[in-house]
């Protein structure tokens, strides 16, 4: 075998060598070298499958297949009693290959592999037949669905009979995490991980930390100053020597895999002097302007230096090796296209964030003014850029409408209207809404408070949004009208001096982080979790976790909770210092390899396969199992069939196709 070139490669090679050894050498201790004895387990899924598929018939058909020693059904195979059925059969019937016909393997493959492992079988002697997503959820005809389920089971049995024991690829994991985004979620995740003992690199594209929350005055529902929350988080992050903060920095590219990612960063030239850490004594300065300046940038080694950064520093590139990545990239505020509710045309039409800043600057005890004009009435329109309706709203720059609810705007708007009425009791407030979604603890109280403070509510239908026109010669510069559901559809028009649009949250461009790693996104454009309940903060790309609003609209509480959850997962992943990867990767038979290098040319992944010099002077292909994604492109082009995929061999594929064709011909003959 070739000399290792660098450390991870060497480990990976060792793992490959071990894997090869395991595959080459029959393991006497285990039954898998014996004749395959397949157990087939068909799940009712509590009706999810059995409502459409005759589960008992599928099991009866499976029992007739060659190599199958038992075929059983259970209401929930994934439940403990269901798992016990498999464990018992392994112990008592000598079952040594397991096929579970149930939901998609993404849900419970690891659950069932765990049963094999606990029962002393190699977990890779497991095969799934997906008869829920691919059969019962997509077909209605019971007879046809049952036949298709049987066909898929027969293919799975054919494959299972040819499975060989495999060992996971074990790679060392760097005890370090990159947190991308320095808002509340990123700060919270960073401090959690540092407290747990991991090295954290916190990357923020702006020059200041704090994200959108730095632009808020106080936070619903308890009116806690945003500054207090941010100061707590920033002070802890900046004081922790395990956290390195890079502001004004973007991710240029990411390479590698879980346990061994490398982030290539570009830090912009600051061209400005930064001052010392904000401390408790400087808190008398509480304006929003101050805060935007306060949570400013630090580079490595600079966080505790008293010396300000030189004003003439240059842009520079950095590379950071980490074991996991927490995406805390936040959201964008919806920007109304020019003319939506008069935005961009009438100067008195502003967003909720603008309003918060405006209100914080109005001196108490006087008539508030906007652009020098007195403000006596303020309108708030909910759901701007959220809950959009096809055919009513124009698609945004991304070509789609925002069907989603932005979750925070209702309570935020109620909170603002209450603050306005508290500060200026003579100013009239109108809220144009669809449903008031004051869902969280302490939120409904603001709805109550707003009602008691005589905020006037008008309810519109999402398909008929309010109309906004300039008030010409009127008492007020802006006129808002809608068909008000609360007065049973009456057309109501009110004049306001300021119209506030409660703009929603839309998915932010995650940039090169997303493109480098090909991170999946949901239909709403936000980053997609693996499963909202089973793996709510994990991305399909192993080692990438989701914190805060990059996943979906959330308030500060929910962002911090999800950030801590992401930190918990990252820590759990890296705590042992080692990451185990599935061994479904290519392997080369050096006996057959003639050094054509067609595989290297075909391989879509950098460094996954390369030609190595052998001691006998020949050159043969070698796979790095940590990088290989198991796509199989190399298998298809190898002229000598020297490459195959562990766990997905050509022979197994052929057997599956044969089994499917056989059941198809039987189905057709019926």
């Amino acid at each position: 075998m070739a000399e290792p070139t660098h450390e991870p490669q060497a480990k990976a090679d060792e793992a490959q060598a071990e894997a090869d050894e395991t595959q080459a050498k029959p393991n006497e201790a285990q039954a898998e070298a014996d004749e395959p004895r397949v157990g087939v387990y068909v799940c009712y899924c509590g009706g999810n499958i059995s409502d459409v598929v005759d589960v008992e018939a599928v099991a009866a058909e499976a029992a007739k297949l060659p190599g199958v020693v038992t075929a059983k059904t259970n209401m929930f195979m994934c439940s403990d009693p269901g798992q016990q059925v498999i464990a018992d059969d392994i112990a008592e019937l000598g079952v040594n290959r397991v096929v579970v016909a149930s939901c998609a393997p993404s849900l419970h493959q690891t659950t069932f592999q765990g049963v094999l492992e606990r029962s002393g079988l190699n977990p890779y002697l497991y095969e799934n037949a997906n008869i829920r997503e691919q059969v019962s959820w997509t077909h209605h005809d019971r007879a046809e669905a049952t036949k298709k389920a049987s066909a898929l089971v027969s293919a799975a049995v054919a494959k299972a009979s040819r499975l060989e024991p495999l060992e996971p690829v074990e790679i060392p994991a760097a005890p370090a995490v990159a947190v991308v985004g320095g808002g509340v979620a990123g700060l919270r995740a960073a401090t959690d991980l540092a407290k747990a003992g991991l090295a954290v690199t916190l990357i923020e594209k702006e020059l200041t930390l704090g994200g959108t929350v730095a632009r808020l005055d106080n936070l619903f529902p308890y009116s806690e100053p945003a500054e207090d929350v941010l100061c707590r988080l920033c002070e802890e992050a900046l004081a922790d020597p395990r956290i390195t903060v890079h502001t004004g920095t973007v991710v240029e590219s990411v390479e590698g895999y879980v346990g061994a990612f490398t982030l290539h960063l570009e830090q912009q030239a600051r061209g400005r002097t930064v001052e010392a850490t904000p401390d408790a004594d400087s808190r008398e300065i509480t304006s929003l302007d101050w805060r935007c300046e306060a949570f400013r940038g630090y580079g490595p080694g600079e966080a505790f230096a008293d010396e300000p950064v030189a004003a003439d520093d240059a842009a520079r590139a950095l590379s950071v090796p980490v074991g996991a990545i927490v995406a805390a990239t936040g959201f964008d505020l919806y920007v109304p296209p020019e003319g939506e509710y008069g935005y961009g045309r009438l100067p008195q039409v502003i967003t909720l964030l603008d309003f918060i800043e405006w209100l914080s600057k109005q001196p108490e005890g006087s008539v508030p003014t906007f652009n020098g004009q007195p403000v006596r009435a303020v309108g708030f329109i909910h759901c701007v850029g959220s809950r959009q309706v096809e055919g009513v709203h124009e698609p945004g720059p991304n070509g789609r409408i925002n069907e989603h609810c932005s979750r925070v705007c209702c309570t935020a708007t109620l909170h603002c209207a209450c603050d306005l009425r508290d500060k200026f009791p003579d100013v009239v407030a109108y809220e144009f809404y669809q449903d008031i979604r004051a869902y969280g603890r302490g939120h409904e109280e603001h709805y109550d408070r707003a009602s008691l403070a005589n905020v006037i509510f008008l309810q519109y239908d999402g398909a008929q949004p309010p109309k906004v026109v300039a008030g010409e010669g009127d008492d007020h510069p802006v006129l808002v009208s809608c068909l008000d559901g609360l007065t049973w559809g009456e057309e109501v028009e009110v004049g306001v001096d300021l119209l506030v649009l409660a703009v929603g949250m839309v998915a932010a461009d995650v940039g090169n982080l997303a493109t480098s790693l090909k991170l999946p996104v949901s239909a709403d454009g936000f980053l997609q979790e693996v499963h909202p309940k089973l793996r709510p903060v994990e991305q399909a790309v192993n080692g990438v976790l989701l914190a805060g609003t990059c996943q979906a609209p959330k308030d500060v509480t929910e962002s911090c909770a999800s950030a801590s959850a992401a930190a918990a997962k990252a820590y759990g992943l890296l705590a042992s210092g080692e990451v185990k990867l599935d061994p479904y990767v290519a392997h080369v038979d050096p006996e057959l390899c003639e050094g054509h290098a067609a595989c290297v040319e075909e391989c879509p992944v950098d460094r996954a396969i390369a030609m190595e010099d052998y001691p006998d002077g020949s050159r043969k292909a070698m796979v790095n199992p940590a990088i290989c994604t198991g796509c199989g492109a190399c298998v298809a082009v190898c002229p000598t069939q020297a490459i195959d995929l562990s766990g997905w061999t050509l022979e197994a594929y052929e057997a599956m196709v044969d089994a499917l064709l056989l059941s198809h011909s039987e189905v057709s003959a019926l």
Partner: protein, 425 residues
């Protein structure tokens, strides 16, 4: 008896407690889960399917239950309660009462022979009282542990279970066992309870047979539920029209529940969708004040319900009355129709009851409790799981009503909070 040491005690083995336990155990910590019921799984294991993915609830809950049960760092005391907790050397000491099952838990193999032999039938609480169970029973099919217990309040001591038990594990004179424990951290994951239907006289005070609690409706909708089909509990008739009354236990000062329970809009929409699958010709109506479909994918879910033909009527239901044919007259003020008072008749009505706090931990720990009965935290924005007491965190609905997605996220966050506190020192 020497105290048994664990890193973290988790009070409550519902979905939040289980998730927190799994995260902590994966970090290398020894965890004890104390669950009051005879099985772990909490409220979630009794649900039919869950919004917005319509995954069957069991498919999501049972693997987490099994993973916790099989984890070598997790110990589960089911049918047990924490009796007391006292601060001790940077942690807590306390006592766990392991209630007598009248079955030798270690020897029982869950074969259910005792259950089949038992002559006493009582309403099955897992099925919302719709089915019957025996006095000697395994709580439900997916229960963990798969161990029988005897409900002594219903048992006649006839001795048949002991005769048939192949492992001789029926112990009629078994006593509660008190286990002293010593832990570094505590996570309170005691969950929630339904708001009271009985206290709302206008809705029949829980006395109208065809006015259902939402959890009973979940069991009717579960394919493995008591009837395997949606029928009226009063007479077994297939309902041709079903209504859901939103905010039946929430946003109602007369009930002492002024807050929003956060999950009822979505579960009602989900139940209506599932009903439309099993009874495609039934008329389905949801009476609501505001539809609060705020989570990821929820608004989209709401829209597909509307597209399926489920009728949403903006109206506060004033009164429910039982009609002569045991159907239900629903008195509404219809905001969609000029605020007219109307009486609409439905074969069956589901009350969308809310989430109320459980009093469990108040005597155990001097935690700050809000007016709503839920646990207060000093920094709700940036540390939602950190309580007013050192070494005590809160996970899931013990701190506020929340849905499963949010409860799971908070549970993992609570595990991280424990990790931040570090080891006992």
């Amino acid at each position: 008896m020497n105290a048994v040491h664990y890193d973290t005690l988790i009070i409550g083995g519902g979905i939040a407690g289980l998730q927190a336990a799994l995260d902590l155990a994966d970090q290398g910590r020894e965890v004890l889960i104390v669950e009051r019921q005879p099985s772990i799984g909490g409220a979630m294991i009794g649900l039919s399917k869950v919004f917005p993915t319509l995954d069957c609830s069991s498919c999501i809950t049972t693997p987490k239950m099994a993973a916790a049960a099989h984890h070598h760092r997790i110990t589960i005391f089911s049918y047990s309660e924490v009796e007391d907790l006292t601060p001790h050397e940077g942690g807590y000491t306390g006592t766990v009462r392991r209630k007598a099952r009248f079955v030798d838990e270690a020897a029982c193999i869950g074969c259910r022979q005792c259950e089949y032999a038992c002559p006493c039938e009582v309403p099955d609480e897992f099925e919302g009282g719709l089915g019957a169970r025996r006095a000697a029973y395994v709580p439900f099919g997916n229960a963990i542990p798969q161990v029988a217990l005897i409900d002594m309040a219903s048992c006649t001591l006839c001795g048949r279970c002991a005769q048939v038990c192949p492992k001789d594990c029926i112990v009629y004179d078994q006593q509660d066992e008190l286990v002293p424990v010593d832990v570094a951290h505590v996570i309170v994951a005691t969950g929630w309870q339904l708001t009271s239907a009985a206290s709302k006289a206008e809705y029949g005070g829980a006395a109208i047979a065809n006015v259902l609690s939402p959890l009973t409706m979940e069991r009717l909708l579960a394919p493995h539920g008591p009837y395997g089909h949606v029928v009226r509990p009063a007479d077994g008739k297939e309902p041709a029209s079903i209504a859901w009354v939103q905010c039946a236990g929430s946003r109602d000062k007369s009930l002492g529940v002024p807050y929003c329970s956060r999950v009822c809009c979505m579960y009602a929409i989900k139940q209506a969708m599932l009903t439309s699958g099993s009874l495609p010709f039934a008329d389905l109506t949801i009476y609501y004040m505001d539809i609060r479909a705020f989570g990821k994918g929820y608004e989209e879910f709401y829209r597909s319900a509307k597209a399926m033909g489920i009728e949403f009527v903006k109206a506060k239901v004033g009164r429910l009355e039982e009609a002569a044919d045991r159907s239900v007259d629903v008195h509404i003020e219809n905001i969609n129709d000029r605020g007219q008072s109307e009486v609409r008749n439905h074969d069956m009505v589901v009350l969308s009851l809310g989430m109320a706090a459980v009093p469990d931990t108040r005597e155990l720990l001097p935690l700050a409790i809000g007016d709503d009965g839920f646990i207060d935290v000093p920094h709700p924005k940036d540390a939602p799981c950190r309580t007013s007491l050192p070494h005590v965190c809160v996970a899931g609905t013990a701190s506020a009503p929340m849905d499963i997605v949010d409860a799971i996220a908070e549970a993992s966050a609570a595990a991280m909070e424990v990790c931040r506190e570090g080891d006992r020192g």
